[in-house]
Every structure is written in C-alpha cells, then in structure tokens.
C-alpha cells in the first residue's frame, strides 16, 4: 500500500519563540526552522512499514511557502520516495490543509495517511481528525503503536488514563505521538540522493480548494511572566515554607 505523510515546516523545538513587539505574531526572521518533530516520527513510521514490506511507496506532502521544500527534502533523505509541495505564501489553517490533503488522498489513494498529532507552532491538534472526517475514514490519533493486519490497522493510542487500542478498517488516518518511534537521521549519501527524488509543485487552486482563513488573529501577546522566587538554603527552611503555606502539617 501507499502511505501519505504530511510534513510541516515549523520553528525548531530548541528555539525559544519570541513574540513580535507589534503583537502580530511570533518573530521567525533568522530563526532556525525544522520539520515538526511529530512529522519526523510519522515519516519514520512510514519507512518502517516499507522496510517490513507492508508499504510500497511513501509520498511526503507539505503545504506552505517555497522554503518548505527543505522539509520535504529532509523527508526524502530519511526515505520517502517522492514529494508534493502545495505552495501557499499565506498561512493555511488546519481546515484548509485538510481540504487540500483530501484532494491528494483522492488522487493518490493511500492505504494510510500518517500525520503528526500536533504542530509545535500552532499547537492546533486538528488536521488529522479533520482529514479523517472529510475523507470518511477512521482515525487513530496519538498513536504509540501501529500494526497493520490485512485490511485493518490496530492503533494503540496515548489517552488521559493510559493506553487504548482501536482497530480501524483501512484506508485509515493515523496521527503520531512521541513514543511511536525514534526517528532516524538521514545519512549523507541519502541526503545527496534525495536531491534527485521527484518533488512536484502545486497550488491550492490546482486542487480547487479555497484556503481563505476562518480565524483572524487579532493579536499575539506574551503570557504573563513568572519571576524567579527565592532559594532556600536547606530542607529545614523548605519544610518551614511548606508549613507556612499550609501544605504540610
């Protein structure tokens, strides 16, 4: 089966985001950008399914600015076979992303679409579920294990109380949680090889999708700052503090 893996270019997770002075957003100029960590896990899972002989082809797709090509090249270097970039220089919301992905799913007919559970910039946690709704497919979100069995897939999910397993009819949508796998690093030869793998360029209009945002960002501000408090010298002082707070008797 074919696997589709949507990957998003986001601020690197090691960078501390800074809100712009004018309150219009987060300052991304000269900031290191990387593949969303959950999407690396998604690419890795697809590659493992291919190595097991379950997947036949892996198609990576990104919706975003031209620079998202770098993110797609990373996916290709890890082991994806080809890539599609849907170019939009303006922001596309999860609903718009899901609508574009729906069209790509119709064209490519993948047996599985594996997405990240959330992108670490917008933290929406929506796109996979929305794609599942639009395509009428079952969804296994927050996956920590994915086992393909004939025409179904068993997904173990990280839920509030622990773990839960569901069985989904394929084709299905899966979103990754942190402990699904540890993504590999691309080797230098594979990075070179990735440069010649096919990368198709499209636009939302090619898919007939209207990506006009439904949400307007009125302003972006910093959260209230916590200031550092005091340091106590020893356990006795800490115990005294806890008692004063009424936490300990």
């Amino acid at each position: 089966m074919k696997i589709l893996v949507p990957v998003k270019r986001v601020i690197d997770y090691n960078v501390k985001p800074r809100v712009k002075m004018d309150g219009t957003g987060v300052d991304l100029t000269n900031v290191k950008m990387s593949m969303n960590p959950f999407d690396e896990i998604a690419v890795e899972e697809a590659i493992r399914l291919k190595e097991k002989g379950i997947a036949t082809e892996i198609v990576a797709v990104s919706i975003g600015e031209q620079k998202a090509q770098e993110t797609l090249r990373t996916a290709l270097a890890m082991g994806a076979d080809r890539a599609i970039l849907v170019v939009s220089e303006t922001e596309v919301e999860p609903l718009g992303v899901a609508k574009i992905l729906q069209k790509i799913v119709e064209e490519e007919a993948p047996g599985l679409v594996i997405l990240g559970k959330q992108a670490i910039d917008d933290d929406s946690n929506q796109t996979g579920q929305m794609l599942a709704a639009l395509t009428g497919r079952p969804q296994g979100t927050f996956a920590s294990a994915v086992v393909v069995e004939g025409d179904s897939v068993k997904v173990t999910r990280e839920v509030d109380g622990g773990l839960e397993t569901v069985s989904l009819k394929t084709p299905a949508i899966v979103t990754t949680d942190l402990r699904l796998n540890e993504p590999r690093y691309a080797s230098l030869p594979n990075i070179m090889k990735a440069k010649s793998k096919p990368l198709a360029q499209k636009t939302p209009a090619d898919y007939g999708v209207d990506v006009t945002p439904r949400l307007k960002t009125v302003k972006v501000s910093e959260p209230p700052k916590r200031s550092a408090g005091i340091k106590v010298a020893d356990v006795d002082e800490l115990v005294a503090k806890l008692k004063a707070m009424g936490v300990a008797a």
Binding site: P17, L95, D123, N125, Q129, R214, L215, S221, E222, K231
Partner: protein, 309 residues
C-alpha cells in the same frame, strides 16, 4: 446563543474537565449538554443538575461507548443543526472528536481556549504557551475545545435542566474498540490534584522514581507527574507526562524534582500557583519560574524532606 457541551464521563462519573467546559460555554449563552454511551440515563440526569445547564441530551447507544469518533462525531454534527457552538473539554477524547465534528460542519476549530473575549473572539495558547493568540472566528457556528485549567469548574449541583433523548446514525462500521490499559492509582488525578510531585530524568530508573518520588507524594497527598524524559525512559507510564504534549496542570503547588525546565515541560505547569524546584544545577532553567528553589542532590534532599514532613 446556545451551546452544546460534550460530557466526558466514565463509569457513571462526570469528569471535572466537563465542568470547566460548561463554564466556558456559559460565557457564550445558554448551555445544553450531550451524554452519549450505553446506559447513560443516570449520567444524563446528573449532567442536567450541573449549575447553568438547561437541558441534557441523552444518546443511549452502545455505538457511542469508548467515544469512537467515527460514531460520535456524526451524532454531534447532526445535533448541531440546533446549536450555535459545540464545546468540548481539551482532554484526549475531546481533542479526538472535536476536529472531526468541525470538519463535518466546515468550521475551523478554536483549540484549547483560555478565555472567551466575546461571542466570536477567544484567546488560545500557541508555541508551547509562549505566545497567546487572540483569534476571531468568522464561522457561523463555533467549534471550541477548552483548556480545563483556564476556567473555574461549574458546580455539580444547582442546575435544573430537563433530560431529552437524542439519537444518531449509530455504528459507522469503520472502527472498533479492542482494549485499554488504564493506570490504576490511589492517588489524586493529575489534572485535578491540588499538589503534584513531579520527577525527571535525574531519577535514573524506575526503582528510584518509586522509592524517592512516591513516598513524598504520599506524605503530601499529592498526584505524581513526570517529564517526558522520565516517561520515555520508562520510569513511569505515558499518562504521567506533564507538558506541551502531555497533561496541562495548574495545581496549588507543583514540586519539580530533577527536572531541568525545558520550554515543553514549562508549557504544562507554569500556571501552577506555587512552583518548588529541587535541582543540583543552580543554573537550571526551572529556577527561573520557581517560587522556591533548593539547590542540591535530590537523592539526599527528597528522603530528608519526606522524613521531616
């Protein structure tokens, strides 16, 4: 404006996160709630008693057990013909079903709201809580998930809503529930605990985690949390993880032990009322947010602390 709030419940009890969602919905107008699953009559009756609720819909059907989104989302999308907003707690289940409802309604969801500014404007955290966005929705209907720590819990008593039966298409035949491994613990639940004792990578292994962190938690009647590093290393199960991609908590007191204070961890606990940090590195970033810090070796400090309480 009338909202439909999805009620998260298990074995008869309504989860606290639902009560915060009711408070958020009440800021928008009238509140109805939906209770779905088999044999949910009593839960629906209890939900109708929540302060501010005027009607509880009871969808009594085994297809809605285990909150399979393939079955539950169409039920909700159908009911939404009569509502202006769908509101769900931002729990694992709420996050699973709400976007599916939103897409069925062709609505852009507003995730994890922190406040209701007006009928169409909300604040929500982005970038691991480092940037708070105020967003205005142009959709005719709203689909919203609510961060539990940002809203007071509505009182479980005081409402006098009516109970009405509701039904949907039932089993879509796309998915089935296989099983669950739910952690059993005598301790309070993380997201509603007053005190949390959290351990990090510094604990080194599962035995240390149990022998150092848990006695302190038990002394304080606290819930136990962990950093991702501690969970990844297998010291404790995944549902202990606090942070951007784990649980969001805001207890009265959060005690971080051997946790460095990465932004992804801070995102989950920095709204705690008092933060106490124990770390051997005096420059650890956790001290920048801690109200009370103690520098030193946790293997010495924590047992001593437990002993002196």
């Amino acid at each position: 404006m009338t909202s439909l709030v999805w009620v998260e419940h298990d074995t008869g009890a309504i989860k606290d996160a639902t009560l915060s969602a009711v408070t958020a919905a009440a800021a928008l107008g009238e509140v109805h709630v939906l209770v779905a699953g088999s044999g949910v009559g009593d839960v629906a009756a209890a939900a109708a008693q929540i302060a501010g609720v005027t009607k509880a819909l009871s969808a009594d059907d085994a297809a809605f057990d285990h909150v399979l989104p393939e079955n539950v989302a169409p039920l909700i999308a159908g009911l939404m013909a009569n509502y202006d907003a769908f509101v769900a707690p931002a729990t694992a289940n709420g996050k699973n079903i709400a976007p599916r409802v939103a897409a069925l309604l062709d609505v852009m969801q507003i995730s994890e709201i922190l406040s209701v500014e007006s009928a169409d404007t909300f604040t929500r955290p982005t970038y691991a809580g480092n940037a708070i966005a105020t967003v205005q929705s142009s959709d005719a209907k709203k689909v919203i998930t609510v961060r539990g720590t940002a809203f007071e819990k509505a009182a479980r008593e005081g409402g006098s809503g009516t109970v009405e039966a509701a039904s949907g298409a039932g089993d879509a035949g796309l998915s089935s529930f296989v099983g669950a491994e739910i952690s059993k613990s005598e301790r309070p639940e993380l997201t509603s605990a007053k005190i949390i004792v959290s351990g990090g990578r510094a604990l080194q292994n599962s035995e240390n985690f149990h022998s150092v962190i848990e006695p302190l938690a038990d002394k304080l009647g606290a819930a136990v949390g962990a950093s991702r590093a501690a969970v990844d290393a297998g010291y404790v199960p995944n549902d202990y993880q606090v942070g951007q991609t784990g649980k969001i908590v805001a207890p009265e007191v959060y005690i971080a032990i051997g946790i460095s204070g990465a932004i992804q961890h801070l995102a989950g606990m920095k709204d705690s009322k008092t933060i106490i940090a124990i770390n051997k590195d005096e420059d650890a970033p956790i001290f920048q947010v801690a109200d009370i810090g103690l520098v030193g070796d946790l293997f010495k400090i924590v047992p001593e602390l437990t002993g002196k309480l």
